[in-house]
Symmetry: C2
Subunit: 338 residues, 2 copies
DNA sequence: CTGAAAGCGCTAACAA
DNA sequence: TTGTTAGCGCTTTCAG
């Protein structure tokens, strides 16, 4: 089992100093073409691959960025990651991908690991509105640039890219109101997650603006998954006073609701209208395609990456930059009024 | 802008040697409890975060694994990644995620970057059956453990985890034959990708075993995407002699076909039966749910991670280990014979 | 229980 | 154009 060769081995092989080899390999100025050629040949022959750990240690720069998301297997995050990856890789960065699985403690562990590995920057979709601030503070405390994506954390001074969740929720609620639905219910996500609380806020605001009073039972707390949607729908079916429209916090929840309602003979949209939020591919393929709000996950990622690059290049002022990626209402059959 | 503090700063702060601090921080033996306490307090006060670049350089171990997949935003790969992540992170590894976007050259660049960063191992879903061998050779040449996942590369001696694509394709083809379909067509993926060529091989083998001759026009070359499916369906619609069953290389292609056929008034399964392969969530939600072959992407990932861990722990012999994760035929309405 | 010296593989700064 | 010295932040080895 042969050892990996280092710059030193090449130096010995070529009877040159380590420094000359180092320069030649980085093709810096002031190397005789003949010498360079000899060195390159030797490097190839010895299967030399530079050790970036050493370089990074000296240069205090790793060309590495850490990404922390709740769960890469959750719709939306893979596409967001691709947006990040394309922009950052183009500029020579490589990415650590970490998942927090919605746990603040796990999030902190992952961030610590990134900091220990001296990433040049971190892009974070925070696990919690109320508890992630501490973690972000400790990143900034290490002078490590950080940009938040998808979810904002109040009180944190960091570049942030979100979708227009609030406005999107207003728009979709208004759509239901304009369609003439009377008893609109919102199946809400965890209020400790920015996107979910914004969507609820949008719902509330749109209802208020239309002089619709909201009864407590019109807001149903749930989670973000298909299964959460199923559970909420079962709960709804037990009610005597059923809504005529349901606005779900996201598409997976809406699809869970869809499935249970149809299994129980409820006709969409005739008996009840249904919407999701965030336009995953499935929602278009349902027998009754789902009205939803489209967010461009890839743009979100690309924009976050660009903000981070600007920081890394030292182009931006100290002021944090907040960007919003516009959402778009997509009306489909699930909210068609008879 | 304060500098990050190092072990040296703590040593100075505590009036101790660097060595003592290093030991205390790793809570090694032979440190006076009082001393340790003082050091820990100082570390906290100075916001010390160890520099793993330095540690890794000395120890020649980074607790880091590189993952290379064609495209993380492609159905299946996010779940596979989660399988990898859960197993590896549990054991203290952190992951680089790289995408090759099906380009061998890009794949090579990504692998080189991983090697330079001295990852402890690489898990790779190779971009090409014919061209990825060279890259894998260069990984192994650096004594870096590598395990292939999802796609096998003939002639490469490396641990490999795949799904039973060949057997699955036989099974689904047999299902179509048993249902009594006469003119079965296969929409095939790129033959330079292992999974696609295995599925075609399974199709061919099942037909051969049933004494069905295959005409050239029964195999339609295509890609892996929804759009490829749409294009193939348009081509099919032009034919005078239409098939009564279509086996698509994967679910996205099948859904593309589904959409175009329905838009053109073709009834599934009455006019033509349709199958996919690999069971993405959408396929179940279609108005006519899709018959397909289920693969457990998370298991694939977990198994690959375990093989890599075994190598890292030096538990396995030199013999490469090949594992197959069983697939499962899922019969739904899209292949129901009238 | 604590410390000094050497070195991991590389580069910056200065000399020759 | 090339080489020497020093050092990045840590750990191993050997002394005290």
């Amino acid at each position: 089992m042969k050892k990996r060769s280092s710059i030193k081995d090449i130096a010995r092989d070529c009877e040159l100093s380590v420094m000359t080899v180092s320069r030649a390999l980085r093709n810096a100025y002031g190397i005789h073409p003949k010498t360079r050629e000899k060195i390159l040949e030797s490097a190839k022959r010895l299967d030399y691959i530079p050790n970036r750990l050493a370089t990074n240690l000296v240069l205090k720069k790793t060309d590495t960025v850490g990404i922390v998301v709740p769960d890469i297997a959750r719709s939306f995050f893979p596409v967001l990651f691709r947006g990040l990856e394309m922009v950052l890789n183009e500029r020579g960065y490589h990415l650590f991908l970490c998942c927090s699985y919605d746990q603040v403690q796990k999030e902190e562990e992952q961030v610590m690991a990134l900091l220990e590995r001296r990433v040049d920057g971190i892009i974070l979709a925070p696990a919690s509105t109320s508890h992630s601030k501490k973690i972000i503070d400790s990143i900034q405390n290490q002078n490590c640039p950080v940009v938040l994506v998808d979810r904002l954390v109040p009180g944190v001074e960091a570049d942030t890219v979100t979708a227009t969740d609030f406005e999107g929720a207003i728009e979709i609620t208004n759509h239901l109101i304009q369609q003439g639905f009377q008893n609109i219910v919102h199946i809400a996500g965890s209020q400790d997650i920015w996107t979910a609380s914004e969507r609820l806020r949008g719902f509330t605001e749109a209802m208020r603006a239309a002089n619709r009073e909201i009864q407590p039972e019109q807001i149903i707390p749930a989670g973000f998954t298909f299964e959460d949607g199923e559970a909420a729908a079962r709960e709804l079916l037990k009610r005597k006073n059923r809504p005529d429209a349901i606005f779900c916090v996201n598409d997976p929840v809406a699809i869970g609701v869809y499935k249970i309602l149809r299994e129980n003979g409820v006709v969409i949209p005739d008996d009840v209208a249904l919407t999701g939020f965030s336009a995953i591919a499935e929602s278009e393929l349902l027998e009754v395609p789902l009205t939803t709000v489209q967010q461009n996950a890839q743009d979100l990622g690309a924009e976050a990456a660009k903000l981070l690059l600007a920081r890394l290049d030292g182009l931006t002022s100290d002021q944090p930059i907040i960007r919003q990626i516009p959402t778009q209402l997509v009306v489909r059959a699930s909210t068609r009024k008879k």
